[in-house]
Amino acid sequence: MISASTVTKRYPEGLEALKEVSFEINAGEMVFITGHSGAGKSTLFRLLAAIERPTSGSIVVNGQNLAALRKSAVPYLRRNFGLIFQDQKLLFDRSVLDNVLLPLAIVGLPAKEAVRRARAALDKVGLLEREKAHPIALSGGEQQRLAIARAVVNRPAILLADEPAANLDAESAADILEIFRAFHQVGVTLVIATHDPQWIAHASPRVLRLDRGRLLADSMDAAA
């Protein structure tokens, strides 16, 4: 489903954020990308989400090489992903429901069906009763759940999350993990960048460990 081959990302100022990273992720896997701050987790997240392009190497998602993808094709590719950003990127001038409706408006779903699906997504993350509230009125954990609802409302096959537990208390982080597990159980592929060791310990998934841009360890290789 996702295949990265000798991926290097070098920024114009000379920083090499990723160095010849290679891995494969199969459909339905739950994979944590971990490492210290500056290890390259967020860079890898941006490359997988086609927000940036690798300097060299290739990333193939569902048979499409992201490095060679035409600019006009990127939006359509991103619709296959559910993206959860470190800073959530919620729209604070819109209601909770309107935030979740945005991805459905982008794909042009008729209004009635869109509202039905948005409410179902909010229900999954336990926010249905807050649909009229604005994100500013939500707690940190609720905001993160709202970001998840927006990411999954289009029923993506792949969920990419960048530090989804950052700035959350332990209880909220555990809630979020449970939600991810629930999606994993129904066959969604999850790629989660995190530096939280507790999460990884609890989840016992496959872990890709990065250090200063290099892939230091892949727990799947270790198990093999």
Partner: protein, 299 residues
């Protein structure tokens, strides 16, 4: 197709919502656009009416065909039949007796006419050509001159030429003015949309990140620009129509003093629709430029 329609309807709703969200700003923008479009439109109406005034004023755009002094009834009939055949427009015959009577009815001329031993005036035809372009008028005059027993053909072509030149300069000035104000309209819309984009930059960024195409981002702004421009065009039409209604009576009185019979006309429904369409196109253009620039910047 369904998706296409859903997205366009959503963009239209969004554009209407934005217009209604800040009524004062909307009203001010409509006024600016309306005035920008009203000025060249009013100029166009003035020119169009001037053309009609000259058409209705007596003596202008007429060709007088004077017969030779020795022309008889047979010669007059010959010219009549040639005129019928050529069909240059409306025409009528003024006999030498009728012409004399007209002169005698004039206070200044009555005494002079009475002292003449015989009627010195020739038979004449007055032609009001359908095609009043100066070149066409001159061509007709040339044709008439070549006809038998025609002594003189009188066409006030110099006056017509001068007036035509004036109209052409007027048209050019209106076109330049229209171009200038069209640029202003594009600029106004560009700036309005730019401010909206700045206010919605977070939304645009998020939408792009989760799969929105540039077309999806552009669409509501394009509809907004087009809608604002169309409404501005209608506002301009309202201004011009009000202006022409106010001027109808005084202009009519003035033209009557010059012996004309004229009613000032404003914009037709086609003109109004054209103004709305021009406004919409220019508004769309301003929005398109503004969004394209922003998308290029964040692209």
């Amino acid at each position: 197709m369904n998706t296409f329609l859903t997205q366009h309807l959503a963009a239209q709703r969004d554009a209407l919502r934005r217009l209604a969200a800040s009524p004062l700003n909307t009203l001010l923008s409509l006024m600016v656009i309306g005035i920008a479009l009203a000025l060249p439109s009013a100029g166009w109406v003035v020119l169009d009416n001037l053309r009609n005034i000259t058409g209705s004023a007596s003596g202008v755009q007429q060709i007088s065909v004077f017969m030779a002094a020795d022309a008889g009834k047979k010669d007059v009939s010959e010219i009549e039949s040639r005129l019928r055949e050529a069909d240059p427009g409306r025409w009528y015959f003024v006999s030498r007796d009728e012409a004399l009577k007209r002169l005698q009815s004039s206070e200044d001329m009555a005494e002079i006419i009475a002292s003449l031993p015989k009627n010195p005036l020739p038979d004449a035809f007055v032609v009001e050509p359908a095609n009043t372009r100066p070149e066409a008028l001159e061509q007709l005059a040339k044709t008439f001159s070549a006809w038998p027993k025609v002594a003189h053909v009188q066409l006030d072509s110099a006056w017509v030429k001068r007036f035509d030149a004036f109209l052409r300069i007027g048209k050019l000035a209106i076109t330049l003015l229209a171009g200038l104000f069209a640029s202003a309209l594009v600029g106004v819309t560009f700036n309005t949309i730019r401010l909206q984009i700045l206010a919605q930059s977070a939304e645009i960024e998020v939408a792009k990140l989760i799969g929105a195409t540039d077309a999806f981002i552009r669409r509501p702004f394009q509809y907004f620009g087009a809608l604002q421009g169309a409404l501005g065009g209608l506002f301009a039409a309202l201004l011009v129509t009000l202006g022409s209604l106010l001027l109808t009576v005084p202009v009519g009185e003035l033209v009557t003093l010059y012996g004309g019979n004229f009613v000032l006309h404003g914009l037709t429904s086609t003109n109004i629709a054209t103004l709305a369409v021009i406004g919409a196109v220019l508004g769309w253009l301003g929005a398109q430029l503004s969004v394209a620039m922003h998308l290029h910047r964040i692209g």
